[in-house]
């Protein structure tokens, strides 16, 4: 089966020493249609930049240096600006982390959704309003008729995020990119939004690129997982592979430090240190400054990808397809 989205060797650079800092560095992944791929990693690993590169919305002065992004049978990176504008919203839509600031504060939310609809489809105002109403119901906004006329500041964070989702879904995109859709919300609201995304994905059969650092959300929503560290994908695999048979030390560290798996009363075993900023990235394996299993070649050579079978891949000097060190950490 050919994937809906196929990303190969995607590299995005910001001005810096040499050719520039590769904030996104040779990223490969694919998403099948109807599949949810979770992109996980700590803050500052380049997840958002990867997503924005897919939409060709990388903030200045960043630029996409190389790579290929295929959506369906179209090559996204070589599209004309106008064609790209039609792809955005229409085939790929994106929702952002901050529902508080993702809506224009001076325009009624219903109008914003209607504008999104009318941007890509030539429908009348009343038809667009009807569609907005349906969308509001579909994303579980109570009393949708009245909410259409509300201003963003009159809605709670959870409702705003639902409006954002309604807006993103308004043109029936094939791929929804959700960048930390629950991070800014209260825990109970988070669960509701996660459930909503799951139901929508099921009903509509769309693909989702879910960006998050919350492994609970990943576990609940995703089919496959890609783990990102310092601009590179370090491990990919099915959800079972990643949660049950993690191989990369970074993935294991993330799982160990997940509050959901914590033993009450014990200190959460966090990964030591913090994500280095791009200028401090070490040579060789970028995780080598924090890895507990670091050894000689790690600091010299960039680890090659090891294929562990059935789409489970890992970039680590310590992992080879034959060794099977320590299941489940």
């Amino acid at each position: 089966m050919t994937a809906l989205l196929e990303v190969k060797g995607l590299t995005a650079r910001f001005p810096g020493p040499g050719e520039g800092l590769p904030i996104v560095d040779g990223v490969d992944f694919h998403i099948d249609s109807g599949e949810v791929l979770a992109l996980v990693g700590e803050s500052g690993c380049g997840k958002s930049m990867t997503a924005l590169s897919l939409m060709r919305l990388l903030p200045k002065p960043g630029r996409i240096a190389s790579g290929r992004v295929r959506l369906g049978d179209e090559e996204v990176l070589s599209m004309s600006v106008n064609a790209m504008r039609r792809v955005r919203g229409h085939r790929m839509a994106m929702i952002f982390q901050e529902p508080m600031t993702s809506l224009n504060p001076v325009v009624r939310v219903g109008k914003q959704v209607m504008e999104a609809i009318r941007l890509h489809e030539d429908v009348s105002r009343s038809a667009a309003r009807l569609r907005s109403l349906e969308l509001f119901s579909e994303v579980g906004i109570p009393d949708p008729e009245a909410r259409l006329d509300a201003y963003p500041h009159q809605l709670s964070g959870g409702l705003k995020q639902r409006v954002m989702i309604a807006m993103a879904l308004s043109t029936r995109p094939e791929l929804l990119i959700a960048d930390e859709p629950t991070t800014a919300l209260d825990v109970t609201i988070q669960a509701q939004i996660v459930r909503l995304l799951r139901d929508l994905q099921r009903d509509r059969g769309m693909s989702i690129l879910l960006i998050t650092h919350d492994l609970g959300v990943v576990n609940e929503l995703s089919d496959r997982v890609a783990v990102m560290y310092a601009g590179r994908i370090v491990e990919t695999g099915s959800r079972q592979d990643i949660f049950k048979r993690p191989r990369h030390p970074y993935t294991r560290g993330l799982l160990r430090s997940n509050p959901a798996l914590a033993v009450p009363g014990e200190r959460l075993p966090e990964i030591q240190g913090v994500v280095p900023s791009p200028v401090e990235w070490p040579q060789g394996c970028r995780f080598s400054t924090r890895c507990s299993e670091v050894f000689e070649p790690c600091r010299i050579d960039v680890p090659q990808t090891t294929n562990l079978g059935e789409g489970h891949r890992c970039d680590c000097h310590g992992v080879t397809s034959s060794t099977n060190s320590g299941d489940g950490a």
């Binding site: 939409m55 039609r86 600031t101 224009n104 001076v106 325009v107 941007l119």
Partner: protein, 340 residues
């Protein structure tokens, strides 16, 4: 077309425009709240401004004929505004103090004894009438100049802030160049070049006045551009132009309103300075003050001219500043103060 026809057309357009703005603003909660707040806190100032506007309108609606001008044959073919008609025939042949029955010099009886509440000026014109007529000139200077300067500032400020790069460099260069010239000298030079008509003076004031607001717009746009709803709009496939019109501009409107109000009083004052230099607009309070200046040395002192013009000017400026201050408090607690 004759000037007076234009004046009537402008009045009609202004009234229609105001109606339209009110109609749209009523649907926006932010604006209805702002204005009800303003009404609550600064009712008197709003009413004062309303009075000036009313006087200016009365002085703007004009037509020819329908008046007995006596021997004055020229005036028969000249358009007279409602205000002119109200004060028709209140002309004296000479100077008189407020409420006077006799003229200032010879003590000869006046044609309208006791009727000149604020006296008359050197050539016998009623001072109240002149002071009221100044309202139209002041509003014209403030309004027309803002109408020129604010769009200019928005155009350049938004382009620079939104697109950055080369465009920003060019705009920044123009702004710094203008800002580095002494404002008053530039103003005088421009009026020398453009001529002394009302429109020319407004144009000159606009050219020297847009830079400050442009800087604010540029900075705000720069901030707005980075906001998530702009990214969200881009992710939905909205064009750059669409983003500017739908997302940047509406979020600058509060600054436009505040700037308009605050700029307004500054402009009216600038005109007074220009009048003092002899390059002001005919019929302005500035010109009245300038002409009355020499009268202060008479004995007994002739104070009513300068006091009337001064108070008329002062009243408008004070009311506008009160309103501007209240607007700034409600609409924008931060941006404009920072840049002052």
């Amino acid at each position: 077309m004759a000037d007076w026809v234009w004046s009537n057309v402008v009045v009609a357009l202004l009234l229609m425009g105001t109606g339209g703005v009110v109609f749209y603003a009523r649907r926006s909660r932010m604006w209805t709240e702002t204005f009800s707040d303003l009404w609550r806190r600064r009712r008197f100032a709003v009413l004062v401004i309303g009075f000036y506007v009313l006087v200016a309108l009365l002085d703007s609606v004009a037509w020819v004929g329908g008046m007995d001008q006596g021997e004055d044959t020229v005036a028969r073919y000249e358009a007279q505004s409602i205000l002119d008609r109200l004060f028709a025939g209140s002309q004296e042949r000479s100077y008189s103090a407020p409420f006077a029955d006799v003229e200032f010099y010879g003590g000869a009886p006046l044609t309208h004894p006791g009727a000149h509440i604020l006296g008359t000026d050197l050539i016998g014109r009623d001072v109240l009438y002149l002071s009221l007529k100044g309202a139209r000139v002041a509003l014209l200077i403030g309004g027309l100049t803002s109408l020129l300067a604010i769009p200019l500032a928005l155009l350049f400020g938004i382009s620079a802030g939104y697109f950055g790069g080369r465009i920003d460099d060019v705009v920044f260069f123009v702004m710094s160049t203008l800002a580095s010239m002494p404002g008053l000298l530039l103003l005088i030079a421009l009026i020398m070049v453009l001529g002394k008509s009302t429109v020319a003076v407004c144009f000159a004031l606009a050219i020297t006045g847009w830079v400050g607001f442009c800087r604010v717009v540029r900075g705000e746009t720069f901030k707005l551009r980075e906001l998530e709803y702009v990214s969200a709009a881009r992710a939905l496939g909205v064009s750059e132009f669409g983003i500017i019109v739908r997302h940047i501009l509406p979020n600058l409107m509060h600054l436009v309103i505040i700037t308009f109000v605050l700029m307004f009083s500054g402009l009216v004052l600038s005109e007074a300075i220009l009048s003092w230099l002899g390059i002001g607009v005919d019929g302005s309070w500035g010109q009245m003050i300038d002409q009355a200046r020499n009268e202060l040395s008479r004995d007994p002192i002739v104070w009513w001219n300068i006091v009337s013009a001064g108070l008329a000017l002062f009243g408008l400026i004070l009311a506008v500043n009160f309103v501007g201050d209240a607007l700034r408090d409600t609409l924008d607690p931060r941006t404009l103060r920072e840049t002052e």
